[in-house]
Amino acid sequence: MLEIKGLTKHFGGLTAVTEFDMSIYSGEVVGLIGPNGAGKTTMFNLITGFIPPTKGHILFEQVDITGKGTHAIAAKGIVRTFQQNAFLPDMTVLQNVLTSCYLHPKSGVWEAIFNTPGYRKKEQNALHHAMEIIEFLGLDSVSDELAQSLPHGYQRLIGIAIALSASPRLLLLDEPLAGMNANEVNETLVFINKIRSVGTTVLLVEHNMRAVMKICDRVIVINFGKKIAEGLPQEVKRNKDVIEAYLGVSEDAA
């Protein structure tokens, strides 16, 4: 589904990502892990077109999307969430999700301004789509609250709701579990499983190892911008390079 070949990114003299190769297959949940500053978020930024790569290619469903704009990549079906809480603070949860349904269905500027029957039908569909996502994530009780007034756990869910409403085929989750308590972590894992069960492929960056090991089909380990290991969670866990480079030689790992 997603194929990355020889991807390299320099920031001035600093090399954030070096000759990175990676493939993701349809229907998988893949974990991308690595220590802080390893280049995980840079990978996300590269895949979604927030920053252009220095070298290399990104292919999505056999189409080269290298250097395309973020909005164009989103239209192709790759949508990400953000590490920090990314939502529209001064809008209600419903407005957040409804705005993000921009692509599905897409309507023209003029038909919106002249309020044509076709536009009204599309608005109805968008509202329906938005409500489905809100119910799916259990946000229906707060759908009319301003996003900024909600507690952290809800705000993270809004971030996921926004990404989902763009109907992604490949969803990139950037530390979805950060700052969550054990209950919220479990709930979010259930959502991720549900998202995968409707056919969405997931690429996950996360520091919560227990969760990564539990939910991922495959794990890719990155350090200093290079891939150092790839495989099933159990394999990666035992990989010597990973333990040294990432987990360190700790009592747990030994």
């Binding site: 704009g69 990314a86 529209l88 705005t99 993000s100 301004i113 309020n115 926004i162």
Partner: protein, 330 residues
């Protein structure tokens, strides 16, 4: 909402519009009509600036784009003998085209940097007009701009623009059409997208919204209305000098918008209306207009950041608090 309540709003709007149409029947003083016409111009300028500002960018070139519309339309009528009714939309379109041209590079910068760029843009327009003497007569100005051609439907109608009254009806029609259009933008998904861009442009971009396109779209729409307002102004005032479109004018429009409140379109209407009428009733205010406006602006930003349009909501929540705790907290 009960059926009765849902009828109150349309009914009160209709009443207000009817009242506005009836004003010339009661008011015979040309001066008062003149003030209302100028207020109408300010209302279109402010509410169209608000459309640009919805994306989080404040344009200080609005007076400049108004000048583009004004000079284009006046010169077309004077040099090429075009009818006002043809030159009028061309005034708007020329401002839109210029906005389209500078829009893509301009929207690459945000917030205060965008304001700075547009500030210079406005000045560039003004200076170009004052230096291009062959065409615009520079600072001595364009004089004797003809009024709009009479509207004649044989046997039925003959409206000549020889008093303030037809101008009043023309600007009233323009205000209503512009507001309807801008309101439609605001309440449709386009408005939602523009607001989303202000609230988090990277979020908007990440769900497939072409942020640059929409920012430029907002700029073009705003400048179109600035352009047609300029065209109306030219043929109403009949004299154009570049100094009518300086930085101060551009800043006034921003002040109207902020004082009225940016969140709602009626904030822009309120701000423009009140701040254009106020100096007329207190002559002293007019002499020190910049100082007074800065004072009002400071008071508003400190004590009423949501602008005048926020008053009803604040009032309601104050009432709720007076009624006792737990009454009005949804």
């Amino acid at each position: 909402m009960s059926k009765g309540a849902s009828l109150i709003k349309p009914a009160s709007y209709t009443a207000l519009i009817v009242l506005l149409f009836l004003i010339p029947l009661f008011v015979k003083g040309a001066y008062f009509l003149h003030i209302l016409i100028m207020a109408g111009i300010a209302v279109i300028l402010t509410s169209s600036l608000r459309t640009i500002a919805t994306t989080g960018q404040i344009s200080l070139a609005h007076a400049g784009f108004m000048a583009i519309g004004a000079y284009t339309s006046a010169l077309l009528v004077m040099k090429l003998d075009l009818s006002f009714w043809a030159a009028f939309p061309i005034g708007g379109i020329s401002a839109t085209l210029l906005a389209l041209l500078v829009g893509y590079p301009f929207v690459r910068v945000k917030r205060v940097y965008f304001a700075m760029l547009t500030l210079f843009m406005g000045e560039v327009i003004r200076l170009t007009i004052s230096e291009w003497r062959d065409l615009t007569h520079g600072t001595s100005g364009l004089l004797n701009i003809p009024p709009p051609n009479s509207i004649v439907i044989p046997g039925l109608l003959n409206i000549a623009f020889d008093s303030k009254v037809p101008y009043y009806y023309l600007i009233l029609a323009l205000v209503l059409i512009s507001l309807l259009f801008l309101y439609r933008i605001d309440s449709s998904r386009v408005g939602r997208i523009l607001l989303a861009i202000q609230q988090g442009d990277y979020v908007a971009e990440s769900v497939g919204i072409h942020v640059t396109h929409f920012k430029v779209l907002a700029l073009c729409v705003g400048c179109f209305f600035a352009g047609i307002t300029g065209s109306f102004y030219a043929h109403y005032i009949k004299v154009l000098t570049p100094d009518s479109f300086g930085v101060l004018q551009a800043i006034y429009v921003v002040v109207y918008m902020v004082v009225g409140g940016r969140r709602r379109i009626y904030g822009a209407i309120l701000g423009a209306f009140i701040l254009t009428l106020l100096p007329e009733f207190f002559r002293i205010l007019k002499e020190y207009q910049p100082f007074v406006f800065v004072g009002i602006l400071l008071i508003i930003t400190f004590f009423l950041p949501g602008g005048l349009a926020d008053l009803p909501r604040l009032g309601a929540s104050m009432l709720g608090r007076l009624k006792g705790p737990g009454v009005n907290h949804a």
